[in-house]
Symmetry: C2
DNA sequence: ATGAAAGCGCTAACAC
DNA sequence: GTGTTAGCGCTTTCAT
């Protein structure tokens, strides 16, 4: 059987001091500050006993007493989606360094699930929340934000909410990714996007439009809006486009690009011979096959880091009036040639490739 | 400012009963059972007041008192890896249904990180742990398992530990995936694997060996062991193989397959003309391009579900002596033809494809 | 520089 | 059926 948990009291008894002193010393050690106000030797002794007894503070008790959980919630669209999984991973790693624990949740773009998750997390007790908002959840988020805990928005923004956010410069990304197609001489370029009303998607579209206009291709502008629930609608879109002589597509997301590519192949056409593609977020195999003419590379690590640091700052200054920050990250365009020319994969941000 | 949290006491006062009765009613409601031992009307009144006051139980207090956290930890190699992300997603969804919260952690195949995570999670207070063990962590896991909390191993096993586990029948998978190459007439088949000592990898290799032997190709058996930290070593392997007339590769993991494919392309060869591939775990783009002759499809959803249910069972029967279960899942082989013939993607386990 | 004591919100054993 | 009570382990004034 497992031995009874060692408590602060055991240490006090063992070290011949009071519990409050032990508590004081332990708290300060955690805070990393030099121990002050306490006799150096006493502190030493307490720490020693704690070590010897393998003391581990009880979190529930701490939370109950202090009201702080050192836990944050991260709500994304789908944690099994590469983009979000990567960000989640960054946040997780960084959070541990700050001694925070992270709770994850996925909305599947369903505002009710988002609301539910916010409630569950809130009841569970969290100090702050990082959210990728979904369509139709604006009001719920605003409401929670007003009365409850610090929130940082990720990837997308919420209208009329005075909330901190970390987003990509999606408009610029839209312009530049379209530009990469224009630069290669394509003129009949159309965009495939979602019908969902999301700030990031809308701005990518705006970027496409602007670039086309700038290139004098106004009358060629055309955006196909797919329902994220019925991606098979892309099949007729592709066939129709082919019939109308469309040469290239800009895909608003990686999922769309993948779906589009599948549809193109299913119809017996090839990339880039029959259609040129440009998209947001590449993936390994796109890279290998040189599928896309160009991709927008989003700074994953920055997304995670900025969001977490912003949130922690809010959490630790809850006394002061909240001052929302808006962090806009710069997209990077990766042209196909650059990928092909790249060396055998070497070190990335993290340690090493992970086997499965 | 946010109003003071309403407590059980507020409800008691408001409803004109004692706190214990409120507690009793609330607990039973959560348990889903019919309220018994309590006056129906009183219970009704309490529930009503709780509702009106928007009472939310304080988790820290509950945990402190009861010792149960209704939180479990899930430690995988890398939560941003598709295989683990998918499993994590399943576990997360299911856990919420069981009213459990999930903490995630990634080891990066580093036994020290694993140990550290186990400690952090344990101190945080969790009721149970699902672990994908990594090389060199066997002892640490055994130690924790003996004295601490219920553990379920996932994907890989630990030698000499009487622990529950959920794994694939990797040997069978190894046989059948090799078979799919043999069946197509390839005879010069080699395997690319990791040098790491992991139960699943080892069994996949064993499967390859057995199949080759059965096919009378003993003398062709050859397994290349790469260090997961230095995957660029695959380049010379591929070149050498080509020179020796190797026709096909079996890759022990998806990451290896991707790396191998990159190396093959980098050397100017093509798939399947110059090399045929078979591997574990496909991915969308492999499917689209028909890259692999065949893939092992692991039953992701089952992995998650079985592991979680096993764990919950252990948690809720901690009084009884632990009876470890070993669940072996059956691999499915997907041949290239089957993929090409498949219809436009329709509903999967979950609701709908997720945009990014 | 150290200790005593009062809870944080809840559960569970027991009393009525 | 319902109320009383004693903590769970810790932090935090306030004394000393």
């Amino acid at each position: 059987m497992r031995t009874r948990k060692v408590t602060i009291k055991d240490i006090a008894t063992e070290a011949g001091v009071s519990v409050s002193l032990v508590s004081f010393v332990m708290t300060n050690r955690a805070g990393g500050k030099d121990v002050y106000r306490v006799n150096k030797e006493t502190a030493q002794r307490i720490l020693e006993v704690a070590e010897r007894l393998r003391y581990q503070p009880n979190n529930a008790a701490r939370t109950l007493r202090s009201g702080k959980t050192r836990t944050i919630g991260v709500i994304v669209s789908d944690i099994s989606n590469k983009f979000f999984a990567d960000i989640a991973r960054c946040i997780e790693d960084l959070a541990y360094k700050h001694k925070y624990t992270v709770l994850f949740g996925s909305t599947d773009e369903n505002p009710r699930k988002l609301e539910n998750l916010m409630t569950v997390f809130f009841n569970r007790g969290i100090d702050g929340l990082i959210i990728v908002p979904c369509e139709g959840a604006d009001q719920a988020i605003r409401r929670v934000a007003q009365q409850e805990i610090p929130i940082v928005l990720l990837d997308r923004e919420v209208e009329g909410a005075e909330l901190s956010s970390v987003v990509l410069n999606n408009c610029k990304a839209g312009i530049r990714i379209t530009e990469s197609l224009v630069d290669r001489g394509y003129t009949h370029i159309e965009m495939v996007s979602y019908s969902m009303s999301l700030s990031n998607i809308r701005e990518r579209e705006e970027g496409y439009r602007r670039c086309m206009a700038l290139a004098g291709l106004e009358e060629r502008i055309r955006i196909h809006h797919l329902h994220h629930d019925r991606l098979e609608q892309i099949d007729p879109v592709v066939r129709d486009a082919r019939a109308r002589g469309v040469e290239a597509f800009v895909f608003a997301t990686n999922t769309l690009a993948l779906t589009g590519l599948t549809a193109i192949h299913r119809n017996g056409w090839h990339v880039p011979q029959d259609f040129a593609l440009a998209c947001f977020d590449s993936n390994e195999t796109f890279d290998i096959y040189g599928t896309a003419v160009a991709c927008v590379r989003q700074p994953i690590e920055q997304f995670g880091r900025e969001a977490l640091e912003l949130l922690i700052r809010h959490i630790e200054h809850r006394d002061q009036p909240p001052s929302p920050a808006r962090i806009v990250l710069t997209p990077e365009i990766v042209e196909q040639g650059d990928i092909a020319a790249s060396e055998p994969s070497s070190a990335s941000d993290r340690a090493a490739p992970i086997p499965v």
